[in-house]
């Protein structure tokens, strides 16, 4: 998995970079260069503006030398660098708020599964044993506020892309994570879904066969007595994904209190 190839869906994994050589990755909107010298790893990156930019390119090792003035460069000093570099896809470091382009209503006793995609972060690790060097978003989403008022709430990212209902229509996007969100309405009145908050820091990332990354299934259930129950995180992606492999675990372990609080403001009312 560490030879230079273009257009392969699996951009993540282990790479070997010889001393004084570089690697270049194009992961969706993110352009990433990593240059290894004897005592230093230098990482430079550049983001384009389009979250759905589908470019994918892996050039390891890269023929040309990196000049000193790369955009957004970070340098890490080592006594002596070892050639192994790890790229690990991770989920966002804050919850993501999804606004379906058209809010939909669920009738009583109905359920619906929607599929949402969110931007991935790239974690770069090097050294023996591997240490985290840097985490770069493939796309830096816009900040947004999620809460009952401007006085209390949580800072989240805004998921710009809409929520799709047909899995077949979804193209494989290796720089974005797909989540299946199952909404169930067991109460006697309509449930209007205008806004959803996905607690990304508590979710895990799995890889499916074709190169698409998935999170575990999320279930939102409105109970019969009209109260919203706690959001439930499934154990793995939807069952139609054959043999998912775990890529990265949750950043924070979900506590019971946290989930209930996340759910309280989860579905926008009125």
């Amino acid at each position: 998995m560490d030879e230079s190839k273009a257009e392969k869906p699996f951009w993540w994994g282990k790479y070997t970079i010889p001393e004084d050589e570089a690697g270049h990755w194009r992961i969706g909107p993110l352009d990433l260069w990593v240059y290894r010298s004897r005592h230093e790893w230098r990482i430079a990156s550049e983001n384009s503006d389009d979250p759905l930019d589908g470019g994918l390119l892996v050039q390891v090792p890269l023929a040309k030398d990196l000049s000193e003035d790369q955009p957004n460069a970070h340098r890490f000093g080592f006594r002596k660098t070892k050639g192994t570099l790890l790229l690990v896809p991770t989920l966002a470091d804050r919850s993501i708020v999804i606004n379906p382009a058209t809010p939909f209503s669920l009738l009583p006793d109905e359920e619906l599964t929607i599929y949402v995609s969110t931007a991935l972060w790239v974690k770069i690790r090097a050294g023996e044993p591997p240490h985290d060097l840097l985490e770069i978003p493939t796309y830096r989403p816009s900040d947004t506020w999620f809460g009952p008022s401007t006085r209390e709430g949580e800072l989240c990212y805004a998921g710009k892309t809409g929520a799709r209902q047909q899995l077949e229509n979804l193209p494989i996007r290796p720089h974005r994570a797909l989540s299946a969100v199952r909404v169930r309405n067991l109460a006697n009145s309509n449930l209007s879904v205008e806004r959803l908050k996905l607690p990304m820091p508590h979710m895990s990332l799995f890889a499916a066969g074709g190169g698409q990354l998935w999170t575990e299934t999320v279930t939102l259930q409105r109970e019969q007595d009209g109260e919203l129950a706690a959001l439930q995180l499934g154990k793995k992606p939807p069952s139609m994904i054959t043999k998912p492999s775990l890529i990265s675990g949750p950043r924070e372990q979900p506590t019971k209190g946290l989930l209930i609080r996340a759910f309280g403001g989860l579905i926008g009312r009125e």
């Binding site: 708020v97 816009s142 900040d143 506020w145 401007t150």
Partner: protein, 283 residues
């Protein structure tokens, strides 16, 4: 003995007296130690519940009260009549009370401030025309550090009596941008451009949604207010960036931000302005 002074110094050094002095000194030392122990113990018990400020206040209060008690007992041992002393103290207190009205008022205001907590150490507050970060909330005053690194002392009384704005109480803050465009511009287009700029800026919050308010037909331009929200810590950076981004977007779409305009006209009763046409020099 000194002849003209009817004083027998020896009287002060009789055995009884000496015993009395000794007792007084012992009482004082013991009292001091007990005061220190008790105040320390109480503070340790209360530490969890009270702020650093409150704990220090409590310790000082207990220490000095117990020390005063010990001093009085020591004086008693020396043979002073406490009744007279307390009477004099009473009169003195009234006198001091009148003299220290302001300080007392500041002190009480300070206690109320600590109880009410409109702001805490670390907040940024604005009092009258002074804005700064709160360094300490002391007995009589609040100390601020202004953003140009000056040290300001504000009496507690002023804070209780007047309006204080706590700039860092809530997590997000709105920036109200005043924008003016030329009369010839299409307002719908301007509105779309402004919303696109806000959408693109990552520090500008998507929710609460930006607000577009048309404020009026100004003297030189159509005035509008575009209000955008940001996380409090990012407010200044976002506000600066977004002004530049709006200018860039306007330039890109050919939207004019006009200079102040002043129209001259002569009116119907006056002579028209004389105008002379000058030809451009040949290039």
């Amino acid at each position: 003995m000194l002849g003209f002074i009817d004083l027998d110094v020896g009287e002060y050094f009789t055995t009884d007296r000496l015993a009395g002095y000794l007792r007084a000194v012992i009482v004082l030392i013991l009292g001091w130690m007990i005061a220190k122990l008790v105040s320390g113990a109480v503070v340790r018990v209360v530490k969890m519940r009270a702020t650093a400020q409150g704990a220090m206040l409590l310790r000082r209060l207990i220490f000095y009260s117990l020390l005063a008690l010990a001093a009085m007992m020591a004086l008693n041992q020396l043979g002073f009549h406490l009744g007279v002393l307390l009477g004099a103290a009473g009169v003195l207190t009234v006198a001091i009370g009148f003299a220290s009205q302001t300080s007392a008022s500041n002190f009480i205001s300070g206690l109320f401030l600590i109880a009410e907590r409109p702001f805490v150490v670390g907040n940024v507050i604005k009092v009258a025309d002074v804005t700064g970060e709160v360094l300490t909330i002391d007995l009589l005053s609040v100390k601020l550090r202004t953003f140009d690194n000056l040290y300001v002392r504000i009496p507690n009384e002023t804070i209780i009596k007047s309006q204080v704005t706590n700039m860092t109480h809530f997590p997000i803050r709105r920036a109200d941008l005043q924008v003016g465009v030329a009369y010839k511009e299409d307002l719908e287009k301007v509105r779309e451009i402004l919303f696109a700029v806000a959408d693109k800026n990552p520090l500008c919050l998507d929710e609460p949604k930006p607000l577009f308010i048309f404020t009026g037909y100004g003297d030189s331009a159509l005035q509008m207010q575009f209000s955008v929200w940001a996380k409090r810590e990012n407010w200044l950076e976002m506000r600066n960036h977004i002004y530049l981004e709006i200018k860039a977007a306007f330039d890109e779409h050919g939207i004019e931000i006009p200079f102040p305009h002043l129209s001259f006209y002569t009116g119907s009763v006056t002579e028209p302005f004389p105008v002379r046409v000058v030809q451009e020099p040949e290039q």
